[in-house]
Amino acid sequence: MRTHSRWTPWLYLAPALVLIGGLLVYPVYELGLISFLEYTQAQVSGGRPTSFQGFGNYAALFGDPQFRDVLVTTVLFAAACVLSTLAVGCALAVLLTRVRALPRLALMAAALGAWATPAVTGSTVWLFLFDPDFGPVDKALTGIGLSGFEGYAWTYDRYSAFALVLLEVVWCSFPFVMVTVYAGIRAVPRAVLEAAALDGASQWRIWRGVTAPMLRPILVVVTIQSVIWDFKVFTQIYVMTNGGGIAGQNLTLNVYAYQKAFASSQYSLGSAIGVVMLLILLAVTLGYLRLLRRQGEEI
């Protein structure tokens, strides 16, 4: 009865492969191609023929001090976001295991709300909270005696603007870490913990010897996810700093590539920036795969 045709799995895979191939793999190829061409408004409109530039666009990019600055900024900003998100998420996951049902429900509900909030609306709300004229945060800070914050415009200064974006990013991405790590802690068999406690192990020793090793695969997953998300932050920067901040002081790679391509029609430079991002994230992914393999996970 069972017709085990060799082609059945490929039949099932066909729609997915066509869509992914056409709208993901092919554009990656195109991205690489454009990054080696001279491709500006003149070529797009057909006014001038495209010409092959070799690594000319990349040379121009890495010779540009602004690009180097944006690259370093992006790495540092992503690192700060990842570390803060993980710290907050893990601390709250542990906290969740120490409280009764009602406070746990309150924290879970609040976190799910933050998680569900779209990046655009999260950005507008945080912007409003820190608004120099009408926002409650400056007023509250002034109220507790920090008079320096009276009418303080957070988005004018480079670092305070980044801090504001970081707060929003942590707010909307810590719930994923918290929920996942909490689920991981809960999955540690109770019998193991009780056995350890009966053997006279201290709380700290139980954490170090039992819980933490069992959590390691989950921590790897949430760390890698966070790196990937935070490295690609676009909406928050774009909305909160109005397209990259005053004189581009808050640009990250993603926003920079967008501005180069769509604001100044330098599509080839924008594509080259995209390729650099792609390579960085690919390196992270390969590291992730190696970690998984070392842990003996089968895919």
């Binding site: 009865m1 069972r2 017709t3 059945t8 799995p9 099932y12 895979l13 997915a16 492969l17 992914i20 709208l23 993901l24 793999v25 195109e30 991205l31 454009i34 709250l92 906290l95 295991t97 120490r98 409280v99 009764r100 406070p103 309150a106 509900a109 976190a111 799910l112 709300g113 933050a114 909030t117 779209p118 990046a119 655009v120 609306t121 999260g122 507008t124 709300v125 409003f128 909270l129 009408f134 929920v179 996942t180 689920a183 913990l193 990937i228 690609k232 676009f234 909406t235 774009y238 590539a257 391509a261 599509y267 594509s271 920036i273 995209g274 991002m277 994230l281 690919l282 795969l289 895919i299």
Partner: protein, 285 residues
């Protein structure tokens, strides 16, 4: 897991910290809804208060009256709904193929799905822009300025993660059930759609949260691909209209933000149980 040895004062301190954190985390959302229902004079006030004595729906009326906001809302709903349904079916088929069959290149494909998740979607905006522009000349429904130009890329980008996550759910259905179905005379497609599909459905719901949210929230494609046809704009673009050089209409922005956030919140509440268990499954894989 309850820790029997946590002493009472410590537990009370932990619970106080949890409740306080919950309040801080919920505050931005509270402030958003509050500002949306405050009368205009109280929103743009030098003395912001955390309550209002005269709630009003003026801001919502302004939002729905001034702009084509209802239309943008429907556009967003249409785009996200189509993406969720199409990608669920396509991902289900693909996940079945990679879990129920052994074939050449299977592992290669799985690694490819994993790597594809890491591709920075944002970087592909440039080639996709040209691809859609050219495609629009032969197939009118998917060119720039159409809703199709938002739907198609989002389906493609949500697939790798959806397939990856659905594998666990498909694998959980016992092989014996498949054998029994065939013995009872069910054909392959009958097994697929009438037995496997309903069993995997909870997993599909968990997966669809991610495709719904990434599509609903999308800002970059909506901004780049809908170049001039504002009747095809989606909500994120409509929101930015209220930012003005002569002073932002914060009441309008907060009301529009509320309208955009609520559907996602509702969706989240409906599926949160499945979401957490689904995530657990995906993580353990």
């Amino acid at each position: 897991m309850s820790f029997p040895r946590v002493r009472r004062p410590w537990r009370l301190a932990a619970e106080a910290a949890a409740v306080l954190t919950a309040a801080v985390v919920a505050f931005p959302l509270y402030w958003m809804v509050l500002s949306a229902v405050k009368p205009a004079g109280e929103v743009q006030s030098e003395d912001p208060r955390p309550w209002t004595s005269q709630p009003s729906l003026d801001a919502f009326r302004r939002v729905f009256g001034q702009q084509d906001f209802a239309r943008y809302f429907l556009n967003s709903l249409l785009v996200a709904g189509t993406v969720v349904m199409v990608s669920a079916v396509v991902a289900f088929l693909a996940a079945t193929a990679v879990t129920r069959f052994r074939f050449r290149f299977r592992t290669t494909l799985l690694v490819m799905f994993l790597v594809a998740q890491m591709v920075p979607v944002e970087a592909l905006t440039i080639p996709l822009f040209f691809l859609l522009r050219d495609a629009g000349q032969t197939v009118p429904g998917i060119g720039l300025n159409t809703l199709g130009s938002l739907i198609l890329p989002h389906i493609a980008f949500s697939l790798p993660f959806a397939i990856w996550m659905l594998r666990g759910f498909v694998r959980a259905v016992p092989e014996a059930l498949e054998e029994a179905a065939y013995l009872d005379g069910a054909g392959r497609s009958r097994f697929l759609w009438q037995i496997l599909f309903p069993l995997v459905f909870p997993g599909l719901v968990a997966t669809s949260v991610f495709s719904f949210i990434s599509t609903w929230n999308d800002f970059l494609f909506a901004k780049s691909f809908i170049v001039s046809a504002t009747e095809n704009s989606t909500l994120p673009m409509a929101l930015l209209v209220f930012f003005k050089d002569e002073g932002n209409d914060w009441g309008g922005i907060m009301a529009a933000s509320t309208v955009m956030t609520v559907p996602v919140l509702v969706f989240f509440v409906l599926v949160q149980r499945r979401l957490v268990s689904g995530l657990g499954g995906a993580v353990k894989d």
